[in-house]
């Protein structure tokens, strides 16, 4: 049987809705992973050992196990201990924390490579170590790693397809539903791929805007 793209318009609304969910979950998880990444980086570098060591374990779990498994654990596993999260929320938390750990690695390295004269200058005007980190060191570190964080966010977008397995009606699951109704996998998977690519371009555009904005302040 040949290809027939004329089936698409009839099901385009479900695909577009799926797009919106993908954008929503990616945006929410990206924000969580960004601020979570900063928070984790500061903990990993400066928290006392009682906090830092358990945190390392947590980091290892998120880096060393499949994201799919983490999503299952958060969505299906936590119910057993009384934490019943909506699928969307579970997806955001899973994706967000997973990529927060990766962002944290980047930010940690960047914090350590901020010139130590910056901390000194901040301390000499009377700032505490915490104030100096917050106002001087961390903002510079984050600016330095905007490009690689952007790459992580693109990876996050692609991995957001995984939340289809816990029932979030994002782009991939929407495509599967359209395929279920039409038996036209090639057409709808291609369509979904095109939409992922479009979202991807949009994210790159945002990233370029941010980079241009901070170019002077580096």
């Amino acid at each position: 049987m040949g290809l027939d793209f004329t089936v698409i318009p009839k099901h385009i609304d479900i695909i577009l809705l799926g797009c919106l969910w993908t954008i929503a979950i990616t945006a929410a998880a990206a924000l969580l992973s960004f601020f979570g990444g900063i928070f984790f980086a500061v903990i990993a570098l400066y928290a006392p050992a009682v906090i830092r060591l358990p945190f390392r374990l947590f980091e290892w779990v998120f880096m060393g196990t499949p994201l799919l498994l983490q999503l299952f654990l958060i969505y299906f596993g936590l119910v057993q201990i009384g934490v019943d999260l909506p699928a969307f929320v579970a997806g955001v938390i899973g994706l967000g924390l997973h990529f927060a750990v990766y962002n944290s690695e980047l930010i940690q390295t960047a914090i350590l490579s901020v010139d130590k004269g910056q901390m000194e200058a901040a301390r000499t005007v009377g700032l505490s170590r915490g104030q100096a980190l917050r106002k001087v060191v961390v903002p510079q570190a984050v600016r330095a790693v905007i490009p690689p964080i952007g790459n992580n966010m693109i990876a996050l977008l692609k991995d957001s397809a995984l939340v289809s397995v816990i029932g979030v009606s994002e782009l991939t699951l929407s495509a599967q539903r359209a395929i279920g109704a039409t038996y036209r996998p090639f057409e709808f998977y291609i369509l979904a791929a095109a939409f992922y690519y479009a979202i991807n371009l949009g994210m790159e555009w945002v990233q370029r805007k941010i980079e241009r904005r901070i170019a002077l302040s580096r």
Binding site: E120, A122, T124, G126, L127, Q140
Partner: protein, 256 residues
Amino acid sequence: MTDHKEFVQIRHAQKSFGALEVLKDISLTVERGQIVAIIGPSGSGKSTLLRAINDLDPLTGGEVWLDGVQVNRSLPFRQYEKHINQMRQDIGMVFQHFNLFPHMTARENVTMAPKMLKGLSKDEADALAREQLDKVGMLERIDYYPSQLSGGQKQRVAIARALAMKPKLMLFDEATSALDPELVDEVNQVMKKLAEEHMTMIIVTHEMDFAASVCDRVLFMDQGVVVEEGPPEVVFKSPEKERTRAFLRKHLEGAR
């Protein structure tokens, strides 16, 4: 506070890194409004001594006093942090490599600490930024980022940043050493202006001419000790110690 003559007092300062002793029992008194230059070969301990005054490089022995208060008091960690942050508000410091905050404009560099630590309102902070940047001749560049400024301009903003906390004492750690020769003068002019306003200053420098023209007293340090000190006319023109003479001779040759 009081008008004690010993505005800044360093008593038996001693500092070692393991077996290496970089400051050997140094004592120094600076009166209010005095300007003291510290000269000496690299590795002589002059920067270490300067950085001990605001405890950036803590001493391993001895005391530092400012205006009747001991800077390096021995206190439990948390209390000490509070104490030293307070003390440092009174001690401005200018670095060789400026250490301006690159993610902040000149205005923000100047106002960040006063806003955070003294609770200045936006208007007060703005007035302060204008006042301080005007003083160093950088008002026109108030909204420029450091990356848009020359070395001399950066250093002038860095001086304004230190002055914004209204310090009682200013420390200059080779403030012009990283500058292209043609940019040195604009920074020296600002420092001269501070001298005219009777700011107490301790200046680590390689510039003998500048030291001779603005300072009340010159200290020559070598290998962790003060070899010779006195008024610039004496130390530069007729030094007593052979080591001082040798250093000045070498330095003059280097300058030529």
